[in-house]
C-alpha cells in the first residue's frame, strides 16, 4: 500500500484525527488498564453472495482462505480479514490493495457467481481497544462480551451507546482486544463515550 500511496499527493485525513491525543491519554489515565488506538484505513468491500451458491468457494479460492461460514464470525486471509455480517453478506478488508482495485477485483469474481462487491472502505473507521476492552465496552454495549460468549473469532453488529458499531474480538490474538468499526460520522461520539467510560477504570485513590 505504501508504494501505491507514494504517487498520491492528495492526502487522506483520519476521521478521528482530532481525537487522537484524547484517546492516547486513556492508557496513562487508566494505568495501562486499557488502551484506545486509531487504526490506519484499509480497503474494504461489502460482499454479497448466495451462501448456497458457488460464490463463497470462488472467493475463498481467490483469497486463499475460507470465508467464515458461521454467523457473526470472522476469519483471516493473507492480506486482511473477512467478517460475516449476514446470511449473504461479508465485509472483506485488505491492507494491501487500493480500495478501488479491491472492489473491482472482488466484484469481478463475485459477479460471475451472481454476487457483487461494493467499496465501503471509507464507510467505517476503526478503533482498537486493548486490555480491559470487554469491561470498558460493558459500560455502553448490552452484548454479552465475556470471553466465553464472545471469543476470538466472533464479530457482531450491535449498538454501543446510541451508535451502531461492528465489533470483532481478538483480531491480533496475542492480547485480548476488541476492534470497533464505526461510521466516521459517529466515530467522535463513540470515542468520547469510551473516553468517558474509561474514567471508571481509573484506579481509585485509596
Amino acid at each position: 500500500m505504501a508504494d501505491e500511496m507514494a504517487d498520491r499527493t492528495l492526502t487522506p485525513t483520519h476521521p478521528l484525527a482530532d481525537r487522537r491525543r484524547l484517546l492516547a491519554a486513556v492508557a496513562d489515565e487508566t494505568a495501562g488498564a486499557v488502551r484506545l488506538e486509531l487504526e490506519a484505513p484499509v480497503a474494504a468491500v461489502d460482499l454479497r453472495l448466495d451462501p448456497r451458491g458457488t460464490g463463497p468457494a470462488a472467493i475463498a479460492a481467490d483469497l486463499g482462505a475460507e470465508l467464515p461460514s458461521e454467523p457473526d464470525t470472522w476469519t483471516a486471509h493473507p492480506t486482511g480479514t473477512a467478517l460475516r455480517l449476514g446470511p449473504d453478506e461479508w465485509l472483506l478488508t485488505s491492507t494491501a490493495a487500493r480500495p478501488e482495485d479491491w472492489e473491482f477485483h472482488l466484484d469481478e469474481v463475485a459477479v460471475a457467481h451472481g454476487g457483487m462487491a461494493v467499496d465501503v472502505s471509507a464507510q467505517r473507521t476503526s478503533l482498537r481497544v486493548r486490555g480491559a476492552a470487554r469491561e470498558l465496552l460493558s459500560f455502553g454495549c448490552a452484548l454479552d462480551l465475556r470471553p466465553a460468549a464472545f471469543p476470538r473469532g466472533r464479530c457482531a453488529q450491535t449498538l454501543l451507546g446510541q451508535s451502531g458499531v461492528l465489533l470483532a474480538a481478538g483480531l491480533d490474538g496475542d492480547v485480548d482486544d476488541l476492534q470497533i468499526l464505526v461510521r466516521p460520522s459517529f466515530a467522535a461520539y463513540v470515542a468520547d463515550l469510551l473516553v468517558d467510560a474509561a474514567a471508571e477504570l481509573v484506579p481509585q485513590p485509596a
Binding site: P71, D72, G86, P87, D88, E89, Q157, L159
Partner: protein, 90 residues
C-alpha cells in the same frame, strides 16, 4: 426490555430491532383493479389481536434482515422461533 431472537444473529436486545407490524400482508397483484375500499384496507388496515400475532421484525442494528415471528401481545412473549426469509438464509 426483552430479548428478541434474530434468526441470524441470535438473541439481541429489543432496541436493536424495528417493528414491522402484521406479517403476511402481501402487496396486491393488481392495485389498479382494487376498489378504493380494498386499497384502503391494504394500505391502512391491520389486525390487532389480543393474543398470538404473526409479526415482522427487522434486526436493524444487526444484520438488517427482516424476519417473522409469532408473539403473544398480552404477555409479549415470543411463541415461535422466528423464521427468516428463505431467500436469504444459508
Amino acid at each position: 426490555m426483552q430479548l428478541i431472537t434474530c434468526p441470524w444473529c441470535g438473541p439481541r436486545e429489543e432496541i436493536e430491532f424495528s417493528y414491522g407490524g402484521q406479517a403476511g400482508v402481501a402487496y396486491p397483484e393488481h392495485p389498479a383493479s382494487l376498489t378504493d375500499e380494498q386499497w384502503a384496507h391494504f394500505v391502512f388496515f391491520r389486525d390487532n389481536p389480543k393474543g398470538p400475532f404473526a409479526e415482522r421484525w427487522s434486526h436493524n442494528a444487526g444484520c438488517r434482515r427482516w424476519f417473522t415471528a409469532v408473539r403473544d401481545t398480552r404477555t409479549y412473549r415470543f411463541l415461535s422461533s422466528p423464521t427468516s426469509n428463505p431467500e436469504l438464509t444459508s
